[in-house]
Symmetry: C2
Subunit: 310 residues, 2 copies
Protein backbone atom coordinates (compact mmCIF):
# COMPACT_ATOMS: atom_id res chain seq x y z
CA UNK A 1 0.00 0.00 0.00
CA UNK A 2 1.40 3.41 -1.02
CA UNK A 3 2.36 5.74 1.82
CA UNK A 4 -0.02 8.65 2.27
CA UNK A 5 2.48 11.52 1.87
CA UNK A 6 0.23 14.44 2.84
CA UNK A 7 -0.69 12.90 6.19
CA UNK A 8 2.13 14.23 8.37
CA UNK A 9 1.52 17.78 7.10
CA UNK A 10 -2.17 17.45 7.92
CA UNK A 11 -1.56 16.13 11.43
CA UNK A 12 1.40 18.34 12.36
CA UNK A 13 -0.68 21.34 13.59
CA UNK A 14 -2.46 18.99 15.98
CA UNK A 15 0.77 17.47 17.31
CA UNK A 16 2.32 20.91 17.80
CA UNK A 17 -0.68 22.52 19.48
CA UNK A 18 0.23 22.95 23.14
CA UNK A 19 -2.43 25.56 23.87
CA UNK A 20 -5.74 23.92 23.03
CA UNK A 21 -7.84 21.56 25.08
CA UNK A 22 -8.79 18.06 23.95
CA UNK A 23 -12.34 18.92 22.83
CA UNK A 24 -11.12 21.87 20.78
CA UNK A 25 -8.47 19.74 19.06
CA UNK A 26 -11.00 17.00 18.28
CA UNK A 27 -13.17 19.56 16.45
CA UNK A 28 -10.17 20.44 14.27
CA UNK A 29 -9.52 16.75 13.58
CA UNK A 30 -12.99 16.57 12.00
CA UNK A 31 -11.79 18.78 9.15
CA UNK A 32 -8.75 16.53 8.66
CA UNK A 33 -11.00 13.51 8.11
CA UNK A 34 -13.07 15.59 5.67
CA UNK A 35 -9.93 16.51 3.70
CA UNK A 36 -8.81 12.87 3.55
CA UNK A 37 -12.27 11.77 2.41
CA UNK A 38 -12.33 14.20 -0.52
CA UNK A 39 -9.31 12.78 -2.31
CA UNK A 40 -10.32 11.73 -5.83
CA UNK A 41 -9.20 8.74 -7.84
CA UNK A 42 -8.68 6.23 -5.02
CA UNK A 43 -10.04 2.70 -4.89
CA UNK A 44 -12.27 1.65 -1.98
CA UNK A 45 -9.39 -0.20 -0.34
CA UNK A 46 -6.99 2.69 -0.82
CA UNK A 47 -9.42 5.14 0.79
CA UNK A 48 -10.06 2.74 3.69
CA UNK A 49 -6.33 2.39 4.19
CA UNK A 50 -5.97 6.17 4.29
CA UNK A 51 -8.68 6.36 6.94
CA UNK A 52 -6.79 3.82 9.05
CA UNK A 53 -3.51 5.74 8.63
CA UNK A 54 -5.20 9.05 9.50
CA UNK A 55 -6.90 7.59 12.56
CA UNK A 56 -3.62 6.15 13.84
CA UNK A 57 -1.69 9.36 13.14
CA UNK A 58 -4.25 11.50 14.99
CA UNK A 59 -4.24 9.24 18.05
CA UNK A 60 -0.44 9.12 18.00
CA UNK A 61 -0.18 12.93 17.71
CA UNK A 62 -1.87 13.56 21.07
CA UNK A 63 -1.95 10.24 22.91
CA UNK A 64 -3.43 11.82 26.05
CA UNK A 65 -6.45 13.29 24.27
CA UNK A 66 -9.29 10.80 24.38
CA UNK A 67 -11.68 12.71 22.05
CA UNK A 68 -9.20 12.24 19.19
CA UNK A 69 -9.24 8.52 19.90
CA UNK A 70 -13.04 8.31 20.03
CA UNK A 71 -13.47 10.39 16.87
CA UNK A 72 -11.03 8.14 15.00
CA UNK A 73 -12.62 5.02 16.44
CA UNK A 74 -16.11 6.15 15.38
CA UNK A 75 -14.97 6.94 11.83
CA UNK A 76 -13.27 3.53 11.50
CA UNK A 77 -16.32 1.66 12.79
CA UNK A 78 -18.70 3.68 10.62
CA UNK A 79 -16.79 3.12 7.37
CA UNK A 80 -15.68 -0.47 7.91
CA UNK A 81 -18.65 -2.16 6.23
CA UNK A 82 -18.94 0.34 3.34
CA UNK A 83 -18.38 -1.10 -0.13
CA UNK A 84 -18.28 1.99 -2.38
CA UNK A 85 -16.45 5.33 -2.26
CA UNK A 86 -19.77 7.11 -1.98
CA UNK A 87 -20.84 4.92 0.93
CA UNK A 88 -17.53 5.49 2.77
CA UNK A 89 -17.85 9.27 2.33
CA UNK A 90 -21.47 9.35 3.51
CA UNK A 91 -20.88 7.14 6.52
CA UNK A 92 -17.74 9.02 7.49
CA UNK A 93 -19.57 12.35 7.30
CA UNK A 94 -22.44 10.93 9.37
CA UNK A 95 -19.94 9.80 12.04
CA UNK A 96 -18.23 13.21 12.05
CA UNK A 97 -21.57 15.01 12.38
CA UNK A 98 -22.63 12.72 15.19
CA UNK A 99 -19.36 13.25 17.04
CA UNK A 100 -19.57 17.03 16.73
CA UNK A 101 -23.16 16.96 18.01
CA UNK A 102 -22.13 14.75 20.94
CA UNK A 103 -19.34 17.19 21.89
CA UNK A 104 -21.69 20.17 21.79
CA UNK A 105 -24.51 18.42 23.66
CA UNK A 106 -22.04 17.22 26.22
CA UNK A 107 -20.68 20.74 26.92
CA UNK A 108 -24.22 22.12 27.21
CA UNK A 109 -25.17 19.43 29.76
CA UNK A 110 -21.95 20.05 31.77
CA UNK A 111 -22.49 23.82 31.69
CA UNK A 112 -25.92 23.40 33.31
CA UNK A 113 -24.37 21.45 36.18
CA UNK A 114 -21.43 23.83 36.57
CA UNK A 115 -23.76 26.82 36.88
CA UNK A 116 -25.00 25.43 40.21
CA UNK A 117 -21.45 24.75 41.42
CA UNK A 118 -20.31 28.38 41.08
CA UNK A 119 -20.98 30.26 44.31
CA UNK A 120 -22.27 33.78 43.44
CA UNK A 121 -19.83 36.63 44.09
CA UNK A 122 -16.88 34.38 44.81
CA UNK A 123 -13.42 33.89 43.32
CA UNK A 124 -13.05 30.51 41.63
CA UNK A 125 -9.89 28.81 40.38
CA UNK A 126 -9.37 27.27 36.93
CA UNK A 127 -6.23 25.51 35.72
CA UNK A 128 -4.67 25.15 32.24
CA UNK A 129 -6.77 25.63 29.10
CA UNK A 130 -9.94 23.66 28.54
CA UNK A 131 -12.58 24.72 26.04
CA UNK A 132 -15.14 22.92 28.24
CA UNK A 133 -14.16 25.00 31.28
CA UNK A 134 -14.21 28.21 29.22
CA UNK A 135 -17.65 27.41 27.75
CA UNK A 136 -19.09 26.57 31.16
CA UNK A 137 -17.77 29.73 32.82
CA UNK A 138 -18.86 32.02 29.96
CA UNK A 139 -22.27 30.34 29.99
CA UNK A 140 -22.65 31.00 33.73
CA UNK A 141 -21.61 34.63 33.23
CA UNK A 142 -24.08 35.02 30.35
CA UNK A 143 -26.83 33.61 32.58
CA UNK A 144 -26.11 36.43 35.03
CA UNK A 145 -23.94 34.75 37.63
CA UNK A 146 -21.27 37.15 38.86
CA UNK A 147 -17.92 35.69 39.92
CA UNK A 148 -14.19 36.24 39.33
CA UNK A 149 -11.67 33.65 38.11
CA UNK A 150 -8.09 33.09 39.29
CA UNK A 151 -5.73 31.15 37.05
CA UNK A 152 -2.02 30.50 36.61
CA UNK A 153 0.30 30.41 33.59
CA UNK A 154 0.65 26.65 33.01
CA UNK A 155 4.34 26.65 32.08
CA UNK A 156 5.96 25.89 29.72
CA UNK A 157 3.35 26.48 26.99
CA UNK A 158 1.52 29.18 29.02
CA UNK A 159 -1.94 28.11 27.98
CA UNK A 160 -3.16 29.68 31.24
CA UNK A 161 -2.68 33.04 29.53
CA UNK A 162 -5.01 31.88 26.77
CA UNK A 163 -7.57 30.98 29.45
CA UNK A 164 -7.17 34.38 31.16
CA UNK A 165 -7.50 36.31 27.89
CA UNK A 166 -10.52 34.30 26.71
CA UNK A 167 -12.40 34.73 30.00
CA UNK A 168 -11.55 38.44 30.25
CA UNK A 169 -12.76 38.98 26.67
CA UNK A 170 -16.03 37.35 27.74
CA UNK A 171 -16.50 39.87 30.54
CA UNK A 172 -15.15 37.83 33.47
CA UNK A 173 -12.70 39.57 35.79
CA UNK A 174 -9.50 37.49 35.99
CA UNK A 175 -6.64 37.37 38.50
CA UNK A 176 -3.56 35.78 37.00
CA UNK A 177 -0.28 34.67 38.57
CA UNK A 178 2.57 32.20 38.07
CA UNK A 179 2.08 28.50 38.75
CA UNK A 180 4.00 28.23 41.99
CA UNK A 181 1.96 31.04 43.54
CA UNK A 182 -0.86 28.59 44.33
CA UNK A 183 -0.30 29.30 48.03
CA UNK A 184 -1.04 33.00 47.49
CA UNK A 185 -4.15 32.74 45.35
CA UNK A 186 -5.90 29.46 46.20
CA UNK A 187 -6.77 30.39 49.83
CA UNK A 188 -8.96 33.17 48.35
CA UNK A 189 -10.87 30.80 46.06
CA UNK A 190 -14.01 28.93 47.00
CA UNK A 191 -14.19 26.29 44.24
CA UNK A 192 -11.81 25.00 41.55
CA UNK A 193 -12.42 23.60 38.07
CA UNK A 194 -10.18 21.76 35.63
CA UNK A 195 -10.75 20.24 32.22
CA UNK A 196 -9.30 16.88 31.33
CA UNK A 197 -7.84 15.02 28.39
CA UNK A 198 -8.97 11.53 29.29
CA UNK A 199 -10.69 9.70 32.11
CA UNK A 200 -10.28 6.10 33.24
CA UNK A 201 -10.85 4.06 36.36
CA UNK A 202 -7.66 5.28 38.17
CA UNK A 203 -8.44 8.97 37.65
CA UNK A 204 -8.30 11.80 35.13
CA UNK A 205 -5.38 12.75 32.91
CA UNK A 206 -4.81 16.47 32.47
CA UNK A 207 -2.03 19.00 31.90
CA UNK A 208 0.96 18.71 34.26
CA UNK A 209 0.35 20.91 37.31
CA UNK A 210 -3.12 19.49 37.91
CA UNK A 211 -1.88 17.09 40.59
CA UNK A 212 -0.16 19.81 42.67
CA UNK A 213 -3.24 22.00 42.30
CA UNK A 214 -5.50 19.13 43.38
CA UNK A 215 -3.32 18.41 46.45
CA UNK A 216 -3.33 22.12 47.37
CA UNK A 217 -7.14 22.27 46.99
CA UNK A 218 -7.57 19.35 49.36
CA UNK A 219 -5.15 20.90 51.87
CA UNK A 220 -7.27 24.07 51.87
CA UNK A 221 -10.65 22.32 51.79
CA UNK A 222 -11.54 23.77 48.36
CA UNK A 223 -13.82 21.55 46.25
CA UNK A 224 -12.24 20.62 42.91
CA UNK A 225 -14.34 19.46 39.95
CA UNK A 226 -13.00 17.99 36.71
CA UNK A 227 -15.26 18.67 33.70
CA UNK A 228 -15.44 15.97 31.05
CA UNK A 229 -17.86 14.64 28.47
CA UNK A 230 -18.14 10.85 28.54
CA UNK A 231 -16.40 10.93 25.10
CA UNK A 232 -13.20 11.28 27.14
CA UNK A 233 -13.59 7.92 28.91
CA UNK A 234 -11.05 5.25 27.98
CA UNK A 235 -9.87 1.83 29.14
CA UNK A 236 -6.86 1.52 31.45
CA UNK A 237 -4.52 0.43 28.64
CA UNK A 238 -5.09 3.67 26.72
CA UNK A 239 -5.20 5.88 29.84
CA UNK A 240 -1.47 5.57 30.38
CA UNK A 241 -0.55 6.36 26.76
CA UNK A 242 0.01 9.98 27.90
CA UNK A 243 3.24 8.89 29.55
CA UNK A 244 4.79 8.53 26.08
CA UNK A 245 4.41 12.20 25.45
CA UNK A 246 7.83 13.69 26.25
CA UNK A 247 8.48 17.15 24.78
CA UNK A 248 11.80 18.78 23.75
CA UNK A 249 13.84 20.18 26.65
CA UNK A 250 14.41 23.55 24.95
CA UNK A 251 10.72 24.35 25.51
CA UNK A 252 11.69 24.55 29.18
CA UNK A 253 15.27 25.83 29.04
CA UNK A 254 17.32 26.94 26.05
CA UNK A 255 21.05 26.34 26.53
CA UNK A 256 20.80 23.89 29.40
CA UNK A 257 24.17 23.77 31.20
CA UNK A 258 26.24 20.58 31.15
CA UNK A 259 25.24 18.23 33.95
CA UNK A 260 21.59 19.34 33.98
CA UNK A 261 18.90 17.10 32.45
CA UNK A 262 15.56 18.71 31.66
CA UNK A 263 12.28 16.86 32.14
CA UNK A 264 9.41 18.07 29.96
CA UNK A 265 6.25 16.01 30.09
CA UNK A 266 2.83 17.41 29.25
CA UNK A 267 0.30 15.33 31.13
CA UNK A 268 -0.20 13.63 34.48
CA UNK A 269 -2.77 11.57 36.35
CA UNK A 270 -4.93 13.04 39.08
CA UNK A 271 -6.38 10.18 41.16
CA UNK A 272 -10.14 10.30 41.80
CA UNK A 273 -9.45 10.59 45.52
CA UNK A 274 -8.30 14.19 44.97
CA UNK A 275 -11.48 15.25 43.12
CA UNK A 276 -14.80 16.31 44.60
CA UNK A 277 -16.52 15.02 41.48
CA UNK A 278 -16.35 14.53 37.72
CA UNK A 279 -18.94 16.73 36.04
CA UNK A 280 -20.15 14.93 32.89
CA UNK A 281 -23.06 14.90 30.45
CA UNK A 282 -24.40 12.04 32.60
CA UNK A 283 -24.31 14.00 35.87
CA UNK A 284 -21.68 14.44 38.54
CA UNK A 285 -19.91 11.09 38.74
CA UNK A 286 -17.70 9.57 41.46
CA UNK A 287 -14.99 6.95 41.16
CA UNK A 288 -17.35 3.96 41.39
CA UNK A 289 -19.49 5.22 38.47
CA UNK A 290 -16.72 5.22 35.87
CA UNK A 291 -16.46 1.48 35.24
CA UNK A 292 -20.01 1.36 33.82
CA UNK A 293 -18.99 3.70 30.96
CA UNK A 294 -15.50 2.36 30.39
CA UNK A 295 -16.46 -1.32 30.17
CA UNK A 296 -18.86 -0.65 27.26
CA UNK A 297 -16.22 0.85 24.95
CA UNK A 298 -15.60 -1.01 21.71
CA UNK A 299 -12.24 -0.39 20.08
CA UNK A 300 -11.71 -0.86 16.33
CA UNK A 301 -9.02 -3.40 15.42
CA UNK A 302 -6.78 -0.70 13.88
CA UNK A 303 -6.58 1.24 17.15
CA UNK A 304 -6.03 -1.65 19.56
CA UNK A 305 -2.82 -1.33 21.52
CA UNK A 306 -0.33 -4.16 21.28
CA UNK A 307 0.01 -5.92 24.61
CA UNK A 308 3.36 -5.28 26.30
CA UNK A 309 5.56 -8.39 26.01
CA UNK A 310 8.46 -9.25 28.27
Amino acid sequence: MEKFEQLSDLVMPIRDDLLSGAAEIALRAITIFQTVMNNDGLSVNELKERIVQTARALVEAQPAMAPLFHLSNMVLQATEGATTIDEIQKQCQAALDKFERTLCDSVAAIADLVFDLIPPGELIFAYSFSSTVVSCLLNARAKGRYFRVACTEARPAMEGRKLAARLAAGGIEVIHTFDNALGLILPNCSTAFMGCDCVGIPGVVNKVGSWAMAVACRELGIPLYALSGTEKFVGDDRLFEFEKHERPDNEVWDNVPKGVRVLNHQFELVPFGLLSGLVTDHGILREQDIDKYVSKLEVHEALKLEPVTF
Copy 2:
Protein backbone atom coordinates in the same frame (compact mmCIF):
# COMPACT_ATOMS: atom_id res chain seq x y z
CA MET B 1 19.84 66.59 58.21
CA GLU B 2 20.92 66.51 54.52
CA LYS B 3 19.59 63.67 52.42
CA PHE B 4 22.19 61.03 51.61
CA GLU B 5 21.96 61.16 47.80
CA GLN B 6 24.16 58.18 46.94
CA LEU B 7 22.12 55.81 49.07
CA SER B 8 19.47 54.70 46.60
CA ASP B 9 22.18 53.91 44.00
CA LEU B 10 24.04 51.83 46.58
CA VAL B 11 20.96 49.88 47.64
CA MET B 12 19.34 49.44 44.23
CA PRO B 13 21.31 46.28 43.25
CA ILE B 14 20.04 44.64 46.45
CA ARG B 15 16.42 45.63 45.84
CA ASP B 16 16.57 44.42 42.25
CA ASP B 17 18.29 41.11 42.98
CA LEU B 18 15.66 38.41 42.52
CA LEU B 19 18.14 35.57 42.12
CA SER B 20 20.18 35.51 45.34
CA GLY B 21 19.37 34.03 48.69
CA ALA B 22 19.18 36.05 51.92
CA ALA B 23 22.62 35.06 53.26
CA GLU B 24 24.30 35.90 49.93
CA ILE B 25 22.62 39.32 49.82
CA ALA B 26 23.62 40.08 53.43
CA LEU B 27 27.26 39.47 52.50
CA ARG B 28 26.92 42.08 49.76
CA ALA B 29 25.33 44.52 52.19
CA ILE B 30 28.53 44.38 54.25
CA THR B 31 30.38 46.17 51.45
CA ILE B 32 27.65 48.84 51.35
CA PHE B 33 28.21 49.65 55.04
CA GLN B 34 31.96 49.78 54.34
CA THR B 35 31.40 52.27 51.51
CA VAL B 36 29.17 54.44 53.70
CA MET B 37 31.70 54.36 56.52
CA ASN B 38 34.54 55.59 54.30
CA ASN B 39 32.97 58.93 53.42
CA ASP B 40 35.33 61.71 54.46
CA GLY B 41 34.49 65.09 55.92
CA LEU B 42 31.38 64.18 57.90
CA SER B 43 30.68 65.03 61.52
CA VAL B 44 30.00 62.25 64.04
CA ASN B 45 26.29 62.98 63.95
CA GLU B 46 26.20 63.12 60.15
CA LEU B 47 27.92 59.73 59.87
CA LYS B 48 25.60 58.21 62.47
CA GLU B 49 22.61 59.55 60.56
CA ARG B 50 23.96 57.98 57.36
CA ILE B 51 24.26 54.64 59.14
CA VAL B 52 20.62 54.89 60.25
CA GLN B 53 19.50 55.78 56.71
CA THR B 54 21.54 52.93 55.22
CA ALA B 55 20.22 50.43 57.75
CA ARG B 56 16.62 51.42 57.06
CA ALA B 57 17.11 51.42 53.28
CA LEU B 58 18.64 47.92 53.33
CA VAL B 59 15.85 46.51 55.46
CA GLU B 60 13.26 48.22 53.25
CA ALA B 61 14.90 46.91 50.06
CA GLN B 62 14.28 43.27 50.97
CA PRO B 63 11.81 43.21 53.85
CA ALA B 64 11.60 39.39 53.86
CA MET B 65 15.35 38.86 54.31
CA ALA B 66 16.15 38.65 58.00
CA PRO B 67 19.97 38.63 57.67
CA LEU B 68 19.82 42.18 56.22
CA PHE B 69 17.81 43.21 59.26
CA HIS B 70 20.21 41.59 61.73
CA LEU B 71 23.29 42.98 59.99
CA SER B 72 21.81 46.49 60.09
CA ASN B 73 20.66 46.04 63.67
CA MET B 74 24.15 44.90 64.76
CA VAL B 75 25.84 47.86 63.04
CA LEU B 76 23.42 50.32 64.67
CA GLN B 77 23.91 48.81 68.13
CA ALA B 78 27.73 48.66 67.75
CA THR B 79 28.10 52.28 66.63
CA GLU B 80 25.49 53.88 68.89
CA GLY B 81 27.80 54.69 71.81
CA ALA B 82 30.77 55.77 69.66
CA THR B 83 31.88 59.39 70.09
CA THR B 84 34.47 59.87 67.31
CA ILE B 85 34.58 59.06 63.58
CA ASP B 86 37.43 56.65 64.20
CA GLU B 87 35.48 54.85 66.92
CA ILE B 88 32.38 54.56 64.68
CA GLN B 89 34.49 53.13 61.85
CA LYS B 90 36.25 50.60 64.09
CA GLN B 91 33.11 49.46 65.83
CA CYS B 92 31.21 49.20 62.56
CA GLN B 93 33.98 47.10 61.01
CA ALA B 94 34.08 44.86 64.08
CA ALA B 95 30.30 44.31 63.78
CA LEU B 96 30.60 43.55 60.06
CA ASP B 97 33.44 41.06 60.69
CA LYS B 98 31.47 39.39 63.46
CA PHE B 99 28.39 39.10 61.27
CA GLU B 100 30.35 37.60 58.39
CA ARG B 101 31.98 35.08 60.75
CA THR B 102 28.57 34.17 62.21
CA LEU B 103 27.17 33.55 58.72
CA CYS B 104 30.09 31.30 57.76
CA ASP B 105 30.12 29.37 61.04
CA SER B 106 26.41 28.93 60.79
CA VAL B 107 26.58 27.45 57.28
CA ALA B 108 29.38 25.09 58.35
CA ALA B 109 27.33 23.83 61.31
CA ILE B 110 24.23 23.37 59.13
CA ALA B 111 26.25 21.56 56.45
CA ASP B 112 27.41 18.97 59.02
CA LEU B 113 23.81 18.22 59.96
CA VAL B 114 22.60 18.15 56.34
CA PHE B 115 25.27 15.59 55.42
CA ASP B 116 23.53 13.03 57.62
CA LEU B 117 20.11 13.89 56.17
CA ILE B 118 21.10 13.07 52.56
CA PRO B 119 20.41 9.41 51.84
CA PRO B 120 23.31 8.02 49.74
CA GLY B 121 22.51 7.29 46.10
CA GLU B 122 19.11 8.98 46.16
CA LEU B 123 17.46 11.85 44.31
CA ILE B 124 16.79 14.81 46.58
CA PHE B 125 14.66 17.89 45.89
CA ALA B 126 15.72 21.51 46.41
CA TYR B 127 13.58 24.59 45.79
CA SER B 128 14.46 28.16 44.73
CA PHE B 129 17.98 29.55 45.27
CA SER B 130 19.60 29.50 48.68
CA SER B 131 23.34 29.87 49.16
CA THR B 132 22.97 27.82 52.36
CA VAL B 133 21.39 24.93 50.46
CA VAL B 134 24.04 25.14 47.71
CA SER B 135 26.91 25.17 50.26
CA CYS B 136 25.46 22.22 52.17
CA LEU B 137 24.93 20.11 49.06
CA LEU B 138 28.36 20.91 47.58
CA ASN B 139 29.92 20.17 50.98
CA ALA B 140 28.22 16.75 51.08
CA ARG B 141 29.37 15.98 47.54
CA ALA B 142 32.94 17.05 48.41
CA LYS B 143 32.85 14.72 51.41
CA GLY B 144 32.09 11.85 49.02
CA ARG B 145 28.35 11.46 49.33
CA TYR B 146 26.83 10.59 45.98
CA PHE B 147 23.29 11.83 45.22
CA ARG B 148 21.37 13.65 42.48
CA VAL B 149 19.31 16.82 42.87
CA ALA B 150 15.94 17.67 41.30
CA CYS B 151 14.85 21.29 41.16
CA THR B 152 12.34 23.52 39.39
CA GLU B 153 12.55 26.95 37.75
CA ALA B 154 11.03 29.17 40.44
CA ARG B 155 9.12 31.51 38.13
CA PRO B 156 9.11 34.39 37.49
CA ALA B 157 12.76 35.19 38.30
CA MET B 158 13.94 31.63 37.47
CA GLU B 159 16.45 31.42 40.30
CA GLY B 160 15.98 27.64 40.15
CA ARG B 161 18.14 27.75 37.01
CA LYS B 162 20.88 29.43 39.00
CA LEU B 163 20.60 26.61 41.56
CA ALA B 164 20.76 23.94 38.82
CA ALA B 165 23.77 25.55 37.12
CA ARG B 166 25.66 26.06 40.40
CA LEU B 167 25.13 22.46 41.56
CA ALA B 168 26.01 21.02 38.13
CA ALA B 169 29.20 23.10 38.03
CA GLY B 170 30.06 21.55 41.41
CA GLY B 171 29.77 18.02 40.01
CA ILE B 172 26.24 17.19 41.13
CA GLU B 173 23.93 15.65 38.54
CA VAL B 174 20.76 17.76 38.28
CA ILE B 175 17.27 17.05 36.94
CA HIS B 176 15.40 20.25 36.18
CA THR B 177 11.78 20.90 35.27
CA PHE B 178 9.09 23.60 35.45
CA ASP B 179 7.43 24.46 38.76
CA ASN B 180 4.07 22.83 38.17
CA ALA B 181 5.72 19.50 37.33
CA LEU B 182 6.10 18.73 41.05
CA GLY B 183 3.81 15.74 40.57
CA LEU B 184 6.21 14.21 38.03
CA ILE B 185 9.49 14.69 39.85
CA LEU B 186 8.75 14.70 43.61
CA PRO B 187 7.56 11.06 43.79
CA ASN B 188 11.11 10.07 42.76
CA CYS B 189 12.75 12.10 45.53
CA SER B 190 13.54 10.82 49.00
CA THR B 191 14.17 14.10 50.90
CA ALA B 192 13.63 17.79 50.19
CA PHE B 193 15.52 20.91 51.27
CA MET B 194 14.69 24.59 51.11
CA GLY B 195 16.47 27.72 52.29
CA CYS B 196 14.58 30.50 53.98
CA ASP B 197 14.56 34.27 54.24
CA CYS B 198 13.30 34.59 57.79
CA VAL B 199 11.99 32.41 60.59
CA GLY B 200 9.48 33.26 63.30
CA ILE B 201 7.11 31.43 65.61
CA PRO B 202 4.40 30.86 62.93
CA GLY B 203 6.82 29.33 60.43
CA VAL B 204 9.44 30.13 57.82
CA VAL B 205 9.21 32.72 55.06
CA ASN B 206 10.68 31.70 51.72
CA LYS B 207 10.24 32.25 47.99
CA VAL B 208 6.70 31.78 46.69
CA GLY B 209 6.21 28.14 45.66
CA SER B 210 7.58 26.80 48.92
CA TRP B 211 4.10 26.26 50.37
CA ALA B 212 2.87 24.17 47.41
CA MET B 213 6.10 22.18 47.49
CA ALA B 214 5.73 21.60 51.24
CA VAL B 215 2.13 20.43 50.84
CA ALA B 216 3.16 18.08 48.01
CA CYS B 217 6.03 16.67 50.14
CA ARG B 218 3.63 15.88 52.97
CA GLU B 219 1.15 14.26 50.57
CA LEU B 220 3.95 11.97 49.34
CA GLY B 221 5.54 11.35 52.74
CA ILE B 222 8.82 13.04 51.75
CA PRO B 223 10.68 14.71 54.66
CA LEU B 224 11.22 18.44 54.07
CA TYR B 225 13.90 20.40 55.93
CA ALA B 226 14.33 24.18 55.91
CA LEU B 227 17.95 25.31 56.40
CA SER B 228 18.52 28.49 58.36
CA GLY B 229 21.13 30.08 60.58
CA THR B 230 19.65 31.56 63.76
CA GLU B 231 20.57 34.98 62.26
CA LYS B 232 17.34 34.58 60.28
CA PHE B 233 15.10 34.48 63.36
CA VAL B 234 12.79 37.46 63.84
CA GLY B 235 9.83 38.54 65.97
CA ASP B 236 6.28 38.14 64.68
CA ASP B 237 5.92 41.84 63.82
CA ARG B 238 8.83 41.70 61.38
CA LEU B 239 7.99 38.23 60.04
CA PHE B 240 5.00 39.53 58.10
CA GLU B 241 6.90 42.45 56.53
CA PHE B 242 7.39 40.22 53.46
CA GLU B 243 3.75 40.76 52.57
CA LYS B 244 4.61 44.34 51.54
CA HIS B 245 6.84 43.08 48.81
CA GLU B 246 4.71 43.27 45.64
CA ARG B 247 6.63 43.19 42.36
CA PRO B 248 5.71 44.72 38.96
CA ASP B 249 3.19 42.69 36.95
CA ASN B 250 5.28 42.82 33.75
CA GLU B 251 7.76 40.43 35.40
CA VAL B 252 4.99 37.86 35.07
CA TRP B 253 3.22 38.94 31.88
CA ASP B 254 4.09 41.70 29.45
CA ASN B 255 1.04 43.19 27.73
CA VAL B 256 -1.56 41.88 30.14
CA PRO B 257 -4.96 41.94 28.40
CA LYS B 258 -7.69 44.26 29.66
CA GLY B 259 -9.71 42.66 32.44
CA VAL B 260 -6.79 40.59 33.77
CA ARG B 261 -5.03 41.62 36.98
CA VAL B 262 -1.61 40.10 37.64
CA LEU B 263 -0.48 39.12 41.11
CA ASN B 264 3.29 39.08 41.64
CA HIS B 265 4.47 38.52 45.19
CA GLN B 266 7.87 37.11 46.03
CA PHE B 267 7.56 35.43 49.40
CA GLU B 268 5.15 33.32 51.41
CA LEU B 269 4.88 31.64 54.80
CA VAL B 270 5.33 27.89 55.24
CA PRO B 271 3.84 26.88 58.61
CA PHE B 272 6.03 24.72 60.85
CA GLY B 273 3.47 21.94 60.62
CA LEU B 274 4.55 21.30 57.02
CA LEU B 275 8.27 20.94 57.89
CA SER B 276 10.08 17.89 59.21
CA GLY B 277 12.57 20.18 60.90
CA LEU B 278 14.49 23.44 60.77
CA VAL B 279 18.21 22.71 60.41
CA THR B 280 20.14 25.48 62.20
CA ASP B 281 23.56 26.17 63.70
CA HIS B 282 21.94 25.14 67.03
CA GLY B 283 20.78 21.74 65.79
CA ILE B 284 17.57 20.56 64.14
CA LEU B 285 14.81 22.61 65.75
CA ARG B 286 11.04 22.06 65.95
CA GLU B 287 8.26 24.60 66.36
CA GLN B 288 8.45 24.71 70.18
CA ASP B 289 12.19 25.57 70.13
CA ILE B 290 11.88 28.81 68.17
CA ASP B 291 10.48 31.06 70.91
CA LYS B 292 13.69 30.72 72.97
CA TYR B 293 15.72 32.40 70.21
CA VAL B 294 13.13 34.93 69.09
CA SER B 295 12.32 36.29 72.56
CA LYS B 296 15.98 37.28 73.15
CA LEU B 297 16.21 39.57 70.10
CA GLU B 298 16.93 43.23 70.84
CA VAL B 299 15.91 45.67 68.14
CA HIS B 300 17.60 49.08 67.76
CA GLU B 301 15.23 52.04 68.05
CA ALA B 302 15.81 53.05 64.40
CA LEU B 303 14.54 49.68 63.11
CA LYS B 304 11.50 49.28 65.33
CA LEU B 305 8.28 48.95 63.37
CA GLU B 306 5.53 51.43 64.08
CA PRO B 307 2.53 49.69 65.58
CA VAL B 308 -0.43 49.46 63.21
CA THR B 309 -3.11 51.95 64.26
CA PHE B 310 -6.77 51.75 63.35
